[in-house]
């Protein structure tokens, strides 16, 4: 890549150039744009709209001609529901042109992994029937998360070993809700540490290297413009960066109300609400409410921007009862 040793120093109006040490170069080298990566992890707290953003990103990438797959890691099938599609399960199912969806099941992923490791059928059958294997598979803490990440990695490979595996340009993961930060993404590193040597160690290390390769893997955090979600997003950004070591490329602040009324207008409407009755009064009060919320959201947006290093992009609140493919498509056009 033509990321020479001369880096323009930001803030110099004369375009002055200056020599930087290697670490600075690494930091300043442009990394591929979010959708040009191989893997994008969409993360954030529960109820913030992760699935919607993951699907919208998928639609956007598909519209740009990229063969894209959106992976869900719980059995909830929220992504296929947006398309009014029946549950897809552990299958790569095409939702629209260039856009596939899969719901990753850990038990199926484990079977698939073993099938790839053991070519001899008799050996596999022996293992699958063995009590020790089944016990370890069910009881070993964190193994489900590890094989799930393993499957995500497998989907992102260009030379897939899985039978009839398609090649994807981009894999988007609708990550599990972060209860306490980053546990899911740290699983490979935890396993690499637990298994000091051996095949699991090297597999886990390979997965960790993939997740933390900032050229190939990016993350987007989805947040809401409210006090606590903003605090948690700032903490999550820090943990993802410092503890997991992944690139945080975007923060999408979801559900932003439009600013429909100015302050003087709002004052007039407050007066109107006091003197009028019926629907005129109700409409005026709804407008005042909307103004208050929009204002408080803007304050949270400003607070978030002060607290994080990642670019914050906003997504509008969609005034519609339930989200369908059209709404997701509209949202996808607003992504940047």
């Amino acid at each position: 890549m033509a990321c020479g040793l001369e880096i323009p120093l930001r803030g110099y109006s004369d375009g002055g150039r200056v020599f930087l040490p290697a670490c600075e170069i690494a930091r300043n080298c442009p990394i591929p744009e979010l959708l040009d990566k191989r893997l994008v992890i969409v993360t954030g707290k529960g109820g913030v709209g992760k699935t919607t953003v993951a699907v919208a990103l998928g639609l956007r990438a598909a519209a740009e001609g990229k063969r894209t797959i959106v992976c869900e890691v719980s059995s909830q099938e929220n992504a296929s529901r947006i398309f009014d599609h029946t549950a897809v399960g552990f299958h790569e199912v095409e939702m629209e042109e260039n856009l596939w969806s899969i719901s990753i099941d850990p038990d199926e992923s484990m079977r698939e992994y073993v099938l790839l490791q053991l070519k001899v059928r008799a050996m596999r059958d022996l293992l699958f029937r063995s009590r020790i294997f089944n016990y370890l598979a069910a009881a070993t803490p964190g193994l489900k998360e590890l094989v799930t990440i393993g499957k995500i990695w497998e989907l992102a490979q260009l030379d897939r070993k899985v039978k009839q595996g398609r090649k994807y340009d981009l894999v988007i993961v609708d990550a599990p809700a972060t209860g306490h930060g980053v546990g899911f993404l740290e699983t490979p590193r935890t396993f690499a540490a637990i298994a000091r040597v051996g095949p699991i160690h090297s597999q886990a290390q390979r997965l960790d290297a993939f997740i933390t390769d900032q050229e190939q893997t990016g993350t987007a955090i989805v947040a809401l413009p409210e006090e606590m979600p903003v605090n948690e997003t700032a903490a999550l950004e820090k943990d993802l960066r410092d503890e997991v070591g992944v690139a945080v490329d975007r923060i999408y602040l979801n559900g932003l109300y439009p600013e429909r009324f100015s302050k003087p207008e709002c004052e007039r409407l407050t007066q109107l609400a006091e003197t009028e009755q019926g629907s005129v009064r109700a409409a005026a009060r709804a407008a005042v409410s909307e103004h208050e919320r929009a204002r408080s959201q803007r304050a949270q947006l400003a607070r978030l921007r002060r607290r994080v290093e990642t670019p914050v992009k906003t997504l509008p609140f969609l005034f519609e009862p339930e989200l369908g493919p059209e709404a997701a498509r509209r949202l996808s056009r607003r992504l940047s």
């Binding site: 909830q76 016990y135 803490p141 489900k144 935890t190 606590m228 429909r260 019926g278 409410s289 009862p321």
Partner: protein, 384 residues
């Protein structure tokens, strides 16, 4: 709907459950505040480090020990605090360590687990450990009997089922028949060490690696002296959850997805024979007025006349129509929820203009949670 105060009358444990992002932490804190105000000694247990909420309760940081909230803070908000409010934030790792220490037959077994490399790696991140440790702490506090009421803010689980299964899933790996495979002199630990000749084990060694298998066997082995203790305790925890003095409140939002999850969760509670107390729907858009009656009024025109500004009138009308659509969706979803749960007992908390993160907000929420039926109707009519 009986008011919340009646539902919780005589209860010793109140568990607020629901999917993430529906306002469980706030609801738990508001319930605990309301019950403490009425004269009880209440402790609210949260797992979510909602920093500002801790700040607003006058607690610089919440730890694994309960702290009392200064009653003067409530007086400033006009809340008369007749009882006591205590709060704590669960530390799953510390709780797990305490549990191991309690269950270990001797110091050596305890240290063997606490110092085990795998234990140290997983005791924090173990799937289900947050959920299980929350139950564990609840059980411990209930046994000590220092409080009239314990309110538990359950950890955010993507799937409600995970939460009910947590004790089972967690004890699975240290309990029962399967573990004994490891512990017998001829068990896996010995087999891994090479004395066994099982073909399956040979295959397993090949894909897992000898060292990891040996470490895992050692990890499971370290727990061997505690299996019975863990099992007995899990049984008592489950019994406590099913006791009539326990009350599960389902918390959700008014959108389709959270409502479906609440229906599902309610079904699971009933199947597990756990005591369901009621459902709380947060952030509800109230229908502003019953507008069908004066449908003849052309709103944009009426507004334009009053405001003498056609453009502003259009925007006010458009905003109102968006707002009404959301209010109608909420009403439909809540009707659906009430009929699925075969209850009229849906407590609605409106979508307030400011998001709730301080004592003033909690006091506002409490007006809705603890209102009687008529008060609630009156408040709804008065809003927006």
């Amino acid at each position: 709907m009986p008011e919340l105060g009646e539902v919780l009358e005589g209860k010793e444990i109140c568990i607020c459950a629901g999917s993430g992002g529906v306002g469980k932490t706030t609801t738990s804190a508001a319930i605990a505040t309301g019950m403490a105000a009425s004269g009880l000694k209440v402790c609210v247990l949260t797992i979510d480090p909602a920093k500002r909420l801790a700040d607003s309760l006058g607690l610089e940081e919440l730890g694994n020990e309960a702290r009392r909230v200064d009653p003067a803070l409530f007086e400033r908000q006009g809340v008369e605090m007749e009882g006591e409010l205590w709060a704590m934030m669960l530390d799953p790792k510390a709780t797990f360590d305490e549990l191991v220490a309690r269950q270990a037959p001797d110091e050596e077994s305890r240290d063997r687990v606490l110092e085990n490399r795998i234990y140290q790696q997983i005791s924090n991140a173990l799937a289900g450990s947050q959920e299980y440790m929350a139950m564990e702490k609840l059980f411990e506090l209930h046994t000590e009997g220092d409080y009239d009421l314990l309110v538990l803010d359950t950890p955010p689980t993507r799937n409600a089922l995970d939460f009910l299964d947590a004790p089972k899933r967690l004890t699975q790996f240290i309990e029962g028949r399967s573990l004994r495979v490891f512990m017998k002199p001829t068990g896996l630990a010995a087999k891994v060490a090479g004395r066994g000749t099982s073909v399956a084990l040979g295959v397993l060694k090949r894909i897992v690696g000898f060292d990891l298998l040996a470490d895992l066997a050692e990890f499971f082995n370290a727990f061997s002296g505690m299996v019975d203790g863990f099992q007995a305790r899990a049984k008592r925890v489950n019994k406590l959850l099913a006791d009539p003095s326990t009350c599960f409140l389902v918390v959700c939002g008014p959108q389709g997805e959270p409502v479906e999850e609440a229906v599902y969760f309610h079904r699971k509670l009933v199947e597990a024979k756990l005591p369901f107390g009621g459902v709380i729907v947060n952030k509800v858009h109230y229908p502003a007025e019953k507008l069908r009656g004066d449908g003849a009024v052309d709103l944009p025109e009426a507004l334009a006349e009053k405001l003498e500004d056609a453009d502003l009138a259009q925007r006010v009308a458009a905003n109102f129509s968006d707002y009404q659509a959301l209010a109608e969706r909420d009403a439909r979803n809540i009707d659906h929820l009430a009929s699925e749960l075969r209850t009229k007992g849906v407590i609605r908390v409106p979508y307030l203009d400011e998001d709730v993160h301080d004592l003033a907000g909690l006091a506002e929420i409490n007006r809705y949670l603890f209102a009687t039926g008529e008060e609630r109707v009156a408040m709804a009519a008065g809003r927006a």
